[in-house]
């Protein structure tokens, strides 16, 4: 680096770098002191600020086998390395899982979505991220693979705290699976951010379908994106948007945040039921 023109531009603390050629090779390298580089939209700033100091950075950008959007028997399968922009432009996603379209468009700016990946956003586990909340509302599940095999975790069970998930250090998130949505399902996504493209202050993802199917997920309301089951019950029992929104947010701490979340849930419900 010292010989690079301009004196080199590597900002992070020193680390080793490996770019495995396959998922299997990557699984053999994952461990306690490694971190996975996907789109890098959150990891690189953390590295540059020296807040993240991994010994090994495992770059999986070369793993084309993790970059796909497929419909398999009505279920949506997304490779973890699917760029957010690909999700945004997918006609399949737009027609069958429009909530993902609505959510992904609010992720940062175009430039960020061009690099950022679906799996990266999930694994990073920012409580204000859009895709995790949308995937929770869609009953998605995640495939975590390690050298020992795969396990599947429901999106609503995946997040444990800010930047903290059930993923073990030797596991790699490889696929996101979203079930077919009920017939006649409507969806809504609403959020507030200080400025366009900034991190959301709070937001809500909603799926409503005939026959009492209701899903409400909140982002920015607590330490993890989470289902608001009281709100879902209220919706299923025929409550109006305002009542359901109040029920969905009873547990949100801080009265302003609660009011903000309730308004966003109300808007998302209205959008879903319009």
């Amino acid at each position: 680096m010292a010989d690079a023109p301009g004196g080199g531009v590597v900002k992070p603390a020193p680390f080793d770098y490996l770019a495995p050629a396959s998922v299997d090779e990557a699984l053999g390298l994952l461990g306690l002191d490694s971190t996975v580089l996907a789109g890098g939209q959150s990891l690189l700033p953390l590295l540059n600020l020296r807040l993240a100091r991994p010994e090994l950075v495992l770059d999986i950008n070369g793993l084309a086998e993790l970059d796909y959007i497929r419909d398999e028997d009505g279920r949506l399968r997304l490779g973890a390395m699917t760029r957010q922009v690909a999700l945004e432009r997918s006609e399949l996603v737009g027609q069958r899982w429009p909530l993902l379209h609505k959510a992904v468009r609010l992720v940062g700016h175009t430039q960020i979505r061009s690099r950022g990946t679906v799996g990266g956003s999930i694994s990073h586990a920012d409580p204000a991220a859009e895709l995790p909340a949308a995937l929770i509302a869609l009953d998605a599940r995640f495939e975590l693979r390690s050298a020992g095999g795969s396990r599947f975790v429901a999106a609503s069970d995946f997040f444990l705290g800010p930047l903290y998930t059930v993923r073990e250090p030797d596991e790699l998130l490889v696929e996101i699976e979203v079930p077919a949505q009920p017939d006649g399902a409507g969806t809504g996504f609403a959020e507030h951010a200080r400025t366009h493209g900034d991190f959301a202050t709070a937001g809500a993802a909603v799926v409503v379908a005939p026959g009492g199917h209701a899903r409400v997920a909140l982002l920015g309301a607590g330490p993890v994106p989470a289902r608001a089951e009281e709100g879902e019950r209220a919706l299923a029992e025929g409550a109006d948007a305002r009542e359901a929104a109040a029920a969905a947010t009873v547990d949100v701490e801080d009265d302003h945040r609660r009011a903000l979340c309730a308004e966003l849930v109300r808007r998302a419900i209205r959008e879903a039921t319009a």
Binding site: A2, G6, V9, R50, T195, G197, D198, H256, L260
Partner: protein, 717 residues
Amino acid sequence: MAHDLRMDAGPQAGGLVGRPLGRREDDRILRGATRYLDDINPPGAAHVAFVRSPFAHARIAGIDVPEELDGVVAVITAADLEGRVGDLPVQGFEGGRVSAEGHPVLAGGEVRYAGQPVAAVLAESRALAEDAAELVEVDYEPLDLVLDARSSDVTMSDWHKVTGDVEGAFASAAHVVRASHSLPRLAPVPMEPRGAIASYDEGDDMLTVWVSAQDSHRQLAGLAAVLDRPEDSIRVIVPDVGGAFGSKGAPAPETMLVAVASMTTGRPVKWAEDREENFVASYQGRGMEADVELALDEDATILAVRARIWADLGGYLMPTTAIPTHTTAMLMCGVYDIQAADVEVLGKRTNKVPTGPYRGAGRPEAAYFVECTVDVVARELGLDPLELRRRNLIRELPYETALGWTYDSGDYERCLALAEELARPEHHSDDARVIGTGFGMYVERAGGLYETADAELLPDGRLLVRSGSSPHGQGHDTTFAQLAADRFGVDLDDVEFRFGDSAEVPRGVGTFASRSVAMGGSAVVQAVGALREKCDAVAARLGGGTTLREVAEAEPGIRASARFESDLVFSSGAYGAVVEIERATGRLRVLRLTAVDDAGTIINPLLAEGQVIGGVAQGLGQCLVEEAAYDEVGNPTFASFVGYSLITAAEMPSVIAAFVETPSPLNPLGAKGIGEGGAIGTPAAVANAVADALGGVRIDPPFTEEKLWRTLQGAVS
């Protein structure tokens, strides 16, 4: 092009003044053909990373520098500089007392803010320098903190003026209205952070410094003072600059370190800061509070103003830290005919990065303090705020204020009338939202001091002008070329400008305080006019029908220079804002922003409007999201764009911009200044609109969702 350069074209032939020409510098900028500080890479340069204090206030008990690190050239601490460099010089102001608490290049026994440079690591790359900087162990013993100006015991600058019968006015007043105001600190956030490169030639004892700055000569003077070197042994080159907003006017301690490090090591030394450094270590703007009282008679004529202002200046005085406090104090009569004033401003030491001039530099503070107080008066007396203003406006100019500045020109009544007409005021509320309208007026000191220009006829008959003014986004290359081409009577393409190299341009003052056109532009037309006369004389000698190329051939190297000097000129304006606050969330939307500015003669309406819109954007940022806040132990919470937001195009309302042109009598152009009006007028207008929407409840910016929601909740219960 030479065929166009007819002598008989005449000085007025251009007709270029007043035309909305696009910026001719943009082609180069948009193609990436610019050369910013970080694009300059002298061979063999050592790169600097600073060890910065993590404590807001601490004694330095010791520094342990690691020995012999791979790729490390040197580690410099204050001990290495002792006796070799001074602190940064401190600039005073008229009638004020300023203490000699200049910023040290590196902290010695004490650090006074988080982010203060303590040691400098020079290495073969910035990356290695950053790695090594982590290994420098500094033993800090934390000391007590002061984070609030009002509770600080240390006054670093003060100014107090009482004029007219203030006591009498308050004693006999039919109404006395009081209001307190506070404006948070703001980070300037230029797109290009700061940086400097120094190269020392021992052979001829010449120090060359490239620095991302607002001009070369203040940097040069700072270097000469701190290094105690003759000015003619220093050359300062300002390359292309990606914005400054005031923050690159005064020389930085880091620039001084780079210079001394180059002299010590004999190598070129480069410092190009990153965004985090820019946030924590670049001087900030605003950070003022005020208690304001107005005395009024039965007819709501303002008899006197009394104001006490506290400025949160930070740990040290940068060269220009105290200047905005004086500007605020001197503008506390605003645009009103007030015969008595008692104004005091106290500049307090706090454990934060120093403040300094930031777009507006004291003017937005004054406009905010005065205009928000006027609206409080209107509410308390049940008067229309515009009628109250009309009753008190200064109508005859020039006008000497009670505080002692002479407003040279203006038509405040017309500005206000136009703003009212364009703003389309609204005030109503329903279940979902509250809507309100507010106005804010301002008067702005601009120009002053002097500026220089050299004009030269090139061998091919084209015109070359060197200016002491220095662009960093304003569009000098277009505006000044319009002035020069117009005066000289040639095409715009036949005029070339050079800026920023102290070895080439005449000694000037620089680009700040909305002064470039009035001062730099006037110097340009004077120099070009003088050159034109010389060319005309040569042409007359040669007989009729001569081209400029023939003049240049007959008498090579014809030059003329000018140094234009004038008192301050005073721009003014009236701003109107219509805002909407959502009841459910507290979200604020600025629906319309009306900007009426009087900057005297407008040279280029397109660029002038661009300045207004840019200023409005920064003023709105201050209203909506910006605040450089510190936590309870003095840590900056704004060290990245996660903690410090800037508004985007999506948050910009429609801006209705209009100009009133009352020419200044103080310069040949009739120009005043337009660089800061938007940043000055916007916060006061928006704050008054917010108060109107909230049913008269006042809060200070930033107007966050949470603050507004809580205020609305309070208003309901």
